[in-house]
């Protein structure tokens, strides 16, 4: 049957909705993906079994190699639907292993499809240590001249330690649906009260942590459509011009300057609307409704 296209402009397969495996297969060149530790040769987490929970054969993360636009890359994709993409012992070790292998195999880049709430509480200590190892491994990979790109657009966003890991990557690509932060709104609400952060006010959650806000603030380099193909094209373009620089004091000084200055500039603000107004956005209320292209144009017009 010849089905007409859906009327709204939700073009290709949604990145937000896709599973980690679907994201990997659609992001890389067709048929190019080779999985490391595929499910048929894996076993699920013994720690979850101890807690009487069914595990996943890939422990919630898919790793392997493939090509992107004909160039060799390695890839990590967290499965946000399995225990919130959270990092446990095996999950973390797969990521560390992939990054170590990247340093050895020298792919053109590592693509890190982040979709995670951070530490898997069922394996809290193992998860925290693994996150620390991932942080070091990402920095090692970059120091070896291999860029690591974080792609954020899944249901769980990038929170907790994975929020830190994402910001250690060479660059972050986000969709509007993506979220990037340290503590989740629920955690802040639980500890500091609903007045501090109403986690059910989802528009507010996105104004504080969402892709558009992070893009306007310069915390991600690209805002892409919620479309695996758009992620793919954007990363191909980015990769073609990317120069991975070794860690240098002057670069970190500049970053220090940028962060310090921005903390002063936006001091006391608690909502994206305030920040956008301070950035000179003419009609901040309109930001959440703007389409991606219009937002990119708007940002280019700001003197950031």
């Amino acid at each position: 049957m010849n089905l007409p296209q859906p009327s709204p402009p939700s073009r290709g397969p949604s990145f937000y909705e896709a599973t980690a495996r679907q994201r990997v297969n659609r992001l890389l060149d067709a048929q190019s993906f080779a999985e490391f530790l595929p499910p048929q040769s894996a076993h699920s987490s013994p720690h979850l079994a101890l807690l009487d929970l069914p595990g996943a054969l890939d422990d919630g993360v898919v790793i392997g190699s493939g090509t992107l636009g004909g160039k060799p890359v390695q890839i990590i994709a967290q499965e946000g639907q399995f225990l919130g993409g959270a990092v446990g012992e095996m999950h973390g070790a797969k990521i560390v292993g992939l990054l170590q292998r990247a340093i050895r195999d020298k792919p053109l880049a590592v693509l890190f499809l982040v979709d995670s709430g951070g530490v898997r509480l069922h394996e809290a200590n193992a998860g925290l240590i693994a996150l620390s190892e991932i942080m070091r491994a990402v920095l090692d990979t970059r120091a070896a001249g291999i860029p690591v790109f974080a792609l954020i657009g899944g249901m769980c966003g990038a929170f907790g330690g994975m929020g830190i890991v994402s910001r250690l990557c060479s660059a972050i690509l986000m969709s509007e649906q993506g979220r990037l932060a340290l503590s989740g709104p629920e955690v802040i609400e639980t500890v500091a009260g609903v007045e501090e952060f109403d986690s059910r006010d989802r528009a507010l959650v996105w104004r504080v942590t969402g892709g558009k806000h992070r893009y306007l603030m310069g915390d991600c380099v690209a805002l892409v459509e919620d479309d695996v193909e758009d992620f793919r094209q954007t990363i191909i373009t980015l990769l073609a011009q990317w120069q991975e620089n070794p860690p240098e004091p002057h670069a970190l000084r500049a970053e220090q300057e940028r962060l310090t200055q921005r903390c002063q500039q936006f001091s006391g603000m608690r909502d994206g609307l305030e920040v956008w107004a301070a950035l000179g956005v003419p009609n901040p209320q309109q930001i959440p409704l703007l389409e991606r292209d219009a937002l990119v144009t708007l940002r280019q017009g700001l003197s950031l």
């Binding site: 809290a124 942080m135 220090q256």
Partner: protein, 236 residues
């Protein structure tokens, strides 16, 4: 023990540490020469401000005293929990701090972490856990979340978690668990300048660049899966 008596015990040869808004800075004298002191007190909640001040000091050290060892004094309840902090990408400032520590390491500074009070999740990740080796005082509290809160979030009965914690180091709070899993090099019964000197000398001698925690976790039996998986990925 409060900070200054502790520092006096650890550095009998003297130090000039001071505390400004929960951030420790200073230099101490040791057998291997001057070392930089850096850290937080009173279970600081790591905010942009604290992270950036710590990072700035690391960058100054790299600039002004190439190669000088760094000692991190860890006492943090985790990250600051506030909407204003997240609005400005708190994870970004913590990542920046981690990158500064990483830069120092790559520039030949050995780094040693000592947990003097609490060491909790995000605050611990960005700083203490970035050190080459981490030690903890016996009284240190290391955790992601206490078991009661964990039971609530995971919907697993608290008694069950308590029972399992007796046999598994994987999830329950405790510095000993982190030692068994390879993240803490050793626990010190009491603060001791000898132990510190020893640790610094070992570090200096071995110049560890790499991350040894996987191997330690496997050797100590606290983390059996991880090392095997990393090896399997490399062999795949």
């Amino acid at each position: 023990m409060t900070l200054f008596p502790l520092l006096d015990t650890l550095f009998p040869a003297g130090h000039d540490a001071s505390v400004t808004r929960q951030v420790i800075a200073g230099t101490a004298h040791t057998a291997i020469g001057p070392v930089a002191l850096l850290g937080t007190v009173d279970a600081a909640a790591i905010s942009h401000d604290i992270a950036l001040r710590l990072a700035s000091q690391v960058l100054d050290l790299v600039d002004q005293h190439p190669g000088r060892p760094l000692i991190f004094l860890v006492d943090t309840q985790g990250q600051a929990l506030a909407r204003a902090q997240e609005l400005l990408c708190l994870n970004g400032s913590l990542a920046h701090l981690a990158r500064c520590v990483d830069l120092a390491r790559r520039r030949g500074h050995v780094t040693l972490g000592l947990i003097t009070g609490e060491a909790v999740s995000g605050g611990f990740l960005s700083f203490g856990l970035m050190a080459d080796r981490v030690y903890a005082l016996q009284s240190a509290q290391v955790r992601v979340m206490d078991l009661k809160a964990m039971a609530r979030v995971t919907k697993i009965p608290h008694e069950r978690l308590v029972a399992l914690a007796a046999s598994s180091p994987t999830f329950a709070p405790g510095a000993e668990n982190y030692h068994r899993m390879g993240a803490i090099e050793a626990l010190w019964d009491t603060p001791s300048s000898e132990l510190l000197e020893q640790a610094l000398a070992q570090l200096r001698a071995s110049q560890p660049g790499g991350d040894n925690r996987l191997q330690q976790g496997r050797l100590r039996g606290g983390r059996q899966e991880a090392a095997a998986i990393v090896a399997a990925v490399l062999a795949a």
